[in-house]
């Protein structure tokens, strides 16, 4: 409990034209937690992800990952720190085979530098071997091994979602940000994915922050919940406590008006 949070955001703001999409979002993510980020549509969850992973530049505010400032840094630098994200609309590298999608994500491949490719043509091959084994192992976990040589663009929506998660794991993240990982996946595969998250947390100490709309998943599989509405964090705490929070119920019922919190 006394351990410093792995991630802290303070007063993050971003406006697009006249619309303030994120309006002073402040939150902590506990190291080793599986934290859900929920909120009605338009609450600014995805924008918040884009702001803290370098895809947008915040107008104001600070974000720290494991003691390092991340706001304003380019996405690839943040990813190399070990803070890796997935996208709500999957970004499978369609005209590349599944296995290449996976191997691409591995860090510390000296063969990605042109200098090494030209002057040390054998230096990267050993690493490539390791990466290939890792990729096959991970594909196994998500039942994608038989598709390894297929183009990623031929996969179904659910398979792409799994591929994107598996690919993010190849990057060996310490903090994984998932934007609606369950959307479009059948329940069996969804369960595998959740089990794997639990295992990664237990074995490798990976921290998760995931945006999710399915309240059953949130209540049963997260140990903390952060609620955003209208660009700010309106509540946070354990799932059961958040569920009965007055502000949260108001936000869901008053905001989107589509059924509220289950």
């Amino acid at each position: 409990m006394t351990e410093a949070p792995i991630f802290e955001a303070e007063g993050i703001e971003k406006s697009f034209g006249g619309i303030r999409a994120v309006n002073g979002a402040t939150m902590d993510v506990k190291r080793g937690s599986i934290t859900a980020l929920i909120g009605p549509n338009g609450a600014g969850k995805t924008t918040f992800f884009n702001l803290i992973t370098g895809f947008y530049r915040p107008d104001r505010g600070r974000a720290r990952f494991d003691g390092r400032e991340v706001q304003g840094r380019p996405p690839y630098v943040i990813a190399r720190f070990g803070m890796v994200r997935t996208f709500q609309i999957t970004k499978a590298l369609a005209a590349m085979p599944v296995i290449d999608n996976m191997m691409l994500a591995a860090p510390d491949q000296p063969g990605e530098s042109l200098r090494n490719v030209l002057f040390r043509p054998l230096a990267w091959r050993k690493r490539e071997q390791e990466v290939h084994e890792q990729a096959i192992e991970l594909l196994d976990v998500f039942n994608l091994t038989r598709l390894a040589d297929h183009y990623a663009g031929t996969l179904s929506g659910g398979q792409r979602k799994l591929l994107e998660l598996a690919r993010a794991l190849m990057a060996q993240p310490r903090f994984l940000l998932l934007d609606e990982p369950m959307a479009g996946i059948n329940p069996t595969l969804g369960r595998r994915l959740l089990d794997h998250m639990q295992r990664l947390r237990a074995e490798d100490g990976v921290t998760f922050l995931f945006i999710e709309h399915d309240m059953e998943v949130v209540m049963n599989h997260s140990d903390r919940v952060i609620v955003m509405a209208e660009g700010r964090v309106i509540a946070e705490g354990e799932p059961q406590a958040v569920r009965s929070d007055r502000a949260v119920i108001d936000a869901y019922l008053g905001g989107a008006g589509h059924g509220g919190i289950e």
Partner: protein
Amino acid sequence: MTDPLAIFPLGLTFEAFTDIDFWTSVGIFAGIYTIFALGLQLNVGFTGIQNFGQAGFMAIGAYSMAILTAEEGMNFWLSLPISILITIAFGLIVGLPSLRLRADYFAIATIAFAEAIRLIALNARDLTNGAQGIFGFDDSWDSISESIEDFIIDLGWTDVPGLFPLFLVTWGIAVLMMFSLTRVQGTPWGRVLRAVREDEDAARALGKNAFSYKLQSLAIAASIGAVAGWLLAIQLAFVVPDEFQPIVTFIGYVVLVLGGLANYWGVAVGAIILWTVLEGLRFLELPISETKIAALRFIIVGLVLIGLMAFRPQGVFGKREEMVLGD
């Protein structure tokens, strides 16, 4: 001289069409366009950046070599690597501001760059001799060419075409480039390029500095363009601004489409098909004027392209899946 084919002497007789000198010359152009389009293939087919300024890099390579040799008196062989470095520098100058632009704006920026280079070459007469062009940079090449010719004569082929050594060297370079580029494309470096082509944001989210890879790709394409520029200059024995019209880049794209995207060997196939069709059509004997026949040749090339798009849109060597899934 917007028509790059107009460099062939007019009024060729029928005998000229069966002439090995004629086809050697065609072969050299096919080789030069192969090299030229290999740079485009790296950019367009493997990195997803629409470089429309390749003729500009070709011009910089040719002019740097010619100016350094003929006007500054530099050794020809030394001028080659230096002209490559100059071209790479221009690649970086163009790429640094414009590769941050969206794909279509980048295409416009590069076309503007190439035209700027051509117009500077036309007007900076002190440096480039304007429309008169630069001559007399190829003495060192000529002596090498003669040695190769003597060597071939010694082997027993006595009536070697004068341009045959250039043909050999051009295709030697082309094959070496295709081989090396294919090899490099198969490395993790090449994989990152393809990822950038597929989805730049996904590549960045996985820790890849997409901008740096695009810049590297452009710089390499520029240096390949410079090599095509030297060979063109040697083939013509002069360097003039008109050889670097935007149509040169467009013909490079025709080669790319014919051969197929994302395959380096396909580029050679595309270039050979294009030049054989274009030049072979000189055999056409029709009761119309020569200028009309010249125009007809391009119409026929257009029809070939339309037919290709209808029946094999991925080009001769391209992979259909990569084209369909690419978006």
